[in-house]
Symmetry: C2
Subunit: 335 residues, 2 copies
């Protein structure tokens, strides 16, 4: 029996209900947020994460603020947008969704209409995932070993996922692929979330540590790499979860294609190249421990960038809802 | 004040006393082993680890067996050697030390002389580390960012270390280097052990996850990589802790030199190339958890090779006690 669909975010009874992803895979707890401040905290603390899902959560956060009281509707919406913009700097989808909500508010949308806009953003993302999945599935050879990183599935989007959506689509049409999931330190989204999703779906998957990627490629266990994205610059340079760039370099060394899968809402045409993408640095505690288990001496100096940038020249194609984009990306992404 | 020297292994009162490295950096507990079986268990469970130190531990294990009772001295030594050989397959130093002890026993060494041989192996390794450190220090440019992996210091050897011995030597002669320590999943020897050693010595060091290596290089934070070795084939192909090969590929992509530092006892001239090196695969539990905290769904499939092989063509030099060996390694290592 197919497990029930994963609903990482829902609007219910005037609340934004968030599946707390920091507790997965051990506990499934839903966190009802009544105030936009709670949504902002959930984004900041990664209870809700994944670039497309962050955008959806922010849209619902605006709807929450619109339905609250105090000040004018315009003031509430603008203040909520300001708060949400400050949560995380890298994912383009956050800003894209807020711009869409703000522009609806400026056109005079009432609270119910703003909720409708958030629901539309959510539902459109599900359709976007289906399109990404269909386009991307054609890239995966029958029986391929598919390496991926972080979580890009139902827990990261409004639908079946981006890179994981491609994997799901290929599997659904009979491709006997095998997934190699990199665990993705420091927060282990690959181990905790991607393995959980794939095991629920019965898709064959093997977990490896991030440092095993090279030897897996050298042993012929991977035929391609596919990853999601948090922000894509006009020239195709792509910010994604830390570790992605290393996989792209390793793929190039081994002659394997490296693909990105992301909705067009992740593309930021205002940035000429990846060097302009703001990269979030997170607290050193994330590296010094996991789930409370300390791994290093107290006071150890840490560098903890949450993302890295993969230059376009290492990317064999960017799968979006419009199709598989190829180089030169300045043309394919802008058209 | 300089902290007291780290003694990961000692012979005391007829015991082999092992500093239990699985508990570091949080607890310093010494485990007295009275029987060779306890030494074998300590090697297997990584309470004592690091290729040179495994060899030293095995030598002391033979001395323990020689001092015990039951059967003839020859029988006790042969049976102890057989047990110790079965503990871990990859590190050449284990077999090298056992061959040396067996050959002393075959030449009629008494128990006290076998203990003397073990002490000699231990003390020679300290001198070997000093020589490796002196030769290798010349490779590190003033103020360099030095990336390393796993632990190759006092906890891995009978002295100051191999790769970490090079770093210590360079620092001691006034090189204002900075270390980038990769945490080294799954067992976090970089985070737990290397950071502990470097912080004790006051050598500037920053901890990163293994997936951050690429972005550190792209940002110009690393000028070179230096790693230890578990077994080096005749052609220079080198088995070392999982993740090392990825660093070598990343270093090549960024035009950075990648060095190996190891004693000649790690070199296995009987193997033509790295493809002949046996690679240990360890229990999946190591990957399914992080410092005791579960990190993946129960029952997740795991691939857990403890080592990978870096081809000689990615290695800029192999630092041994004899000097810095260059390509072709079949010549430099054999001479």
């Amino acid at each position: 029996m197919r497990p029930s669909a994963i609903r990482p975010i829902e609007w219910a009874d005037g609340n934004v209900v968030i599946l707390d992803q920091t507790l997965l895979p051990h506990r499934e707890e839903h966190l009802p947020c009544r105030r936009v401040e709670e949504v902002a905290e959930a984004i900041r603390s990664l209870r809700v994460r994944g670039a497309p899902l962050i955008g959806i959560a922010a849209a619902y956060g605006i709807a929450l603020a619109a339905h609250s009281s105090g000040g004018s509707l315009q003031e509430r919406v603008r203040s909520a947008a300001k708060l949400l913009q400050s949560t995380r700097p890298t994912a383009r989808n956050l800003f894209w969704a807020l711009e869409r909500m703000l522009s609806a508010a400026e056109e005079g949308a009432r609270p119910e209409e703003l909720l409708g806009e958030a629901v539309a953003i959510h539902e459109e993302d599900a359709q976007t995932c289906r399109s990404i999945g269909e386009h991307g599935a054609t890239l995966i050879p029958q029986g391929a070993g598919v390496m991926t990183i972080c979580n890009t599935g139902s827990l990261a989007t409004g639908g079946e996922g981006t890179a994981l959506g491609v994997i799901r689509s290929a599997y659904a049409v009979g491709n006997s692929l095998r997934v190699l999931a990199c665990e993705t330190r420091p927060l282990l989204q690959g181990a905790r979330l991607t393995m959980w999703e794939l095991m629920r779906d019965g898709i064959p998957a093997t977990l490896v540590t991030d440092g095993m990627a090279g030897t897996c490629m050298a042993r012929g266990m991977a035929d391609l790499v596919i990853a999601g994205a948090d922000r894509i610059a006009r020239n195709g340079d792509t910010a994604n979860k830390i570790g992605t760039y290393s996989l792209a370099v390793l793929a190039r060394h081994h002659g394997l294609p490296f693909y990105i899968a992301a909705p067009m809402s992740t593309v930021d045409l205002s940035l000429a190249s990846g060097s302009e993408i703001p990269i979030e640095e997170r607290d050193s505690d994330e590296v010094l421990a996991f789930a409370g288990a300390k791994s290093a001496p107290p006071g150890a100096a840490v560098f903890n960038p949450a993302f890295d940038v993969t230059p376009a020249e290492l990317i064999a194609g960017i799968v979006t809802e419009r199709g598989v984009m190829g180089a030169p990306y300045a043309e394919s992404l802008s058209s």
